[in-house]
Amino acid sequence: MRKLTFERAAAILSLLVLVLAWAGGRARVEESASARILNISNDITNISPVSENLYRAEKRSTPGAPLHIALESRPSYGGPLSVAVVADEAGVVQQVAILHSTDTSTYLSKVVESGILDPFPGSRLNALPVVDAISGATISSTAILEGIQRAGAHIATARQGNPAPISKTSSPLNRKDVIKSMAVVLLFGCALCVAGRRFPWSKKKGRYALMAVSTLVLGFLYGTQFSLASMHLLISGGWMQGLASYAALICLVLAIAVFFMTRKNLYCATLCPFGAVQEGLGRITGCSPPKRTPWMTWTARLITLMALSAALFFQNPSKASFEPFGMAFNFTGSDALFAMTIVIVIGSLMVKRPWCRLFCPVTGLFDYLGFVRNQWTRFQRNKSPKETS
């Protein structure tokens, strides 16, 4: 009883912490667009809005010389990416800037260091240079290039009533993402079929087959695996502002829906590529699952709560991710994640699924959802006899 009270208090408290972090984050980023524009250059002064996302300003160095500034947001990997273009009266681009991005900072710095912004300053609005997207960070670089093209066109239209040509832009939902999402839905359908009572063959073999397919498709081919960052996007509503890829989010929503429908965590048991790799390694030595002590359970949950709260407070999903999924399948990530992947590979030979059982935030998430579901069922059961009496 005492344990249950503690768990109930912890569940309510963690929800409260998340709400407070979200509210604090909203208050933190409610800054005026003009504050951001002023940070682009010291030479910009007297900013006044002309229309939505279009501003007029003056050059500090030559008073009276007007500047046109346009802001534009495009969907990127982790959410919207905002850019700004500053042009003078002659239609020459003076500055280009990336104002805000929720993409992983290592990806974004890779794109900028490759010189994607360099050809734009000094070019004319009606003849913006055509720059290729950077391979390995295509989504981020495409969002930047599209944003600059659109912002430039916005200024050109406002200056002369003369729209500049916009290069063909990709729609937010591209064909590859639709195929990825369909693959996710199909795999969930197969997982439900294998777990169902009417599955005619060996469930064990069916599960292994599905794990192998999922590792190849969701892991190595598409790199689509939901994480705490996807959870942040879902609960913060970041997905409503546009994403370049919805597959991970669809995966998360389906995993939660299936969990509530069937009372089974089919994603972790059957579809998680990282879990499948650990289980495959564990089969070599035939090791048994680790025994998680209560202090380990609560420490892992606390880290998950802290990471999710930080992402909500900083309004950036990349501040929540500490999972080595990207490193395991795409070899992208920090040194700490590389070390973690090595530890997990070695650990998988000693205990079964060490990451899943000991530290994975998805486990903490499903623990929480399971607790809420059980409490709700108990509440309904207690309520119904009173109603009948």
Partner: protein, 72 residues
């Protein structure tokens, strides 16, 4: 069994330590970032102001240059 308990304990400690090593710098960077700050900017390269072609010659220098000119 004992061996697995020790392995579990050390694996957990590794996970905890490495996740904090991953997360702490991210949070520190985000906390220090000013509100309204810009991530990346590229500007036109400022060129040195063009020199005027007109040369200024002082009256004294003309007198000095003409001092040996006896033709007046």
């Amino acid at each position: 069994m004992n061996y697995q308990r020790i392995a579990t304990f050390f694996l957990f400690l590794f996970f905890l330590g490495l996740s904090l090593v991953e997360l702490a710098p991210k949070w520190k960077e985000a906390a220090h970032k000013e509100s309204g700050s810009v991530l990346y900017v590229r500007s036109v390269k400022k060129t040195a102001p063009a020199r005027s072609e007109k040369k200024t010659v002082s009256y004294d220098s003309i007198l000095k240059a003409n001092s040996k000119n006896k033709d007046g």
